[in-house]
Symmetry: C2
Amino acid sequence: MAEITAKMVKELRDKTGAGMMDCKKALQATGGDMDKAIEKLREMGLASARKRASRIANQGKIGSYIHANGALGVLVEINCETDFVANTDEFNALLKDIAMQIAASNPLYVNREDIPDEVVEKEKEFHRNQLKKEGKPEHVIERIVEGKLKKYFEEVCLLEQDFIKDTSVKVKDIIDSAIAKLGENIVVRRFVRFKLGEE
Amino acid sequence: MAEITAKMVKELRDKTGAGMMDCKKALQATGGDMDKAIEKLREMGLASARKRASRIANQGKIGSYIHANGALGVLVEINCETDFVANTDEFNALLKDIAMQIAASNPLYVNREDIPDEVVEKEKEFHRNQLKKEGKPEHVIERIVEGKLKKYFEEVCLLEQDFIKDTSVKVKDIIDSAIAKLGENIVVRRFVRFKLGEE
């Protein structure tokens, strides 16, 4: 097994924001492989993030993003558990990223749970009729509809959208990362997006 | 009659943004009194502003205001007729003033026309019942209710609120002034106000 030096621990700590002991354990578990250790910490972080998701988040910040000299504007509220975390650079960077994401990708809801049932039903109905017209057999239609619905959620739900600055991850992944790093539950509470002159 | 010099005309023009000929006429009409001439121009401007109010405003800008380190946020869209006016300092100052007004005074609607009928009816009913309980005679109740309603509108309608930076005027007055000065119809289209952690 490779020796885990203090320098390696520090490097991993700087990269992830995790505690010294966690960094050391992660490096030991991965035989000193930095990339694998980051992945490991991420998993550990995400595991504790899940536990944190039940905690009440009523602190945080409201942020805005004005694009193209006022032709587009976004207002967003992101909650965390303490004022302290709300004032960290990481939290403010997340706030800015999410506001830019909303400006660029025009989500309609935060979560799929926020979509009214009748909207989901209408969307399903539309695809069902389409597929019937195309003569698809009944027993495959529902499966295809589920696939279409998944795509729809990835389009209209902020958390399920590809992150604009790194399309290999979803928006919920960058929030999970922030939760892991900052150690508090973090929730996108609500947002609005105004486009100049839209109906 | 006092002589109207080119310097006076220029001064008035700089102060009001009105045309040369209008400034000269206003100064002549007021015997060279600068303050009265400004008032005169304002009246003339307001008269033409009324005519402008029917013109279509679909340009403009979206502005935001974040207060108290992110504890409060406002997003507002103000429309005018051209991109040119939207980029003037006056228009941007108005945008900022209106956003701050919304942050400070928490209006619920732009205009009284935006209030749903049932909300107005409920408000009336509340005061009617209150006044009946107080034993007020029927024939005065309606008049008092109208007065209470006016106060309610001044509280919840942005345009009818006292302007925070000069409570001697209403918000609609500063918009009318901007219309007079910039020569285009100007409309507060919509706004939202997020307060951190509110239900």
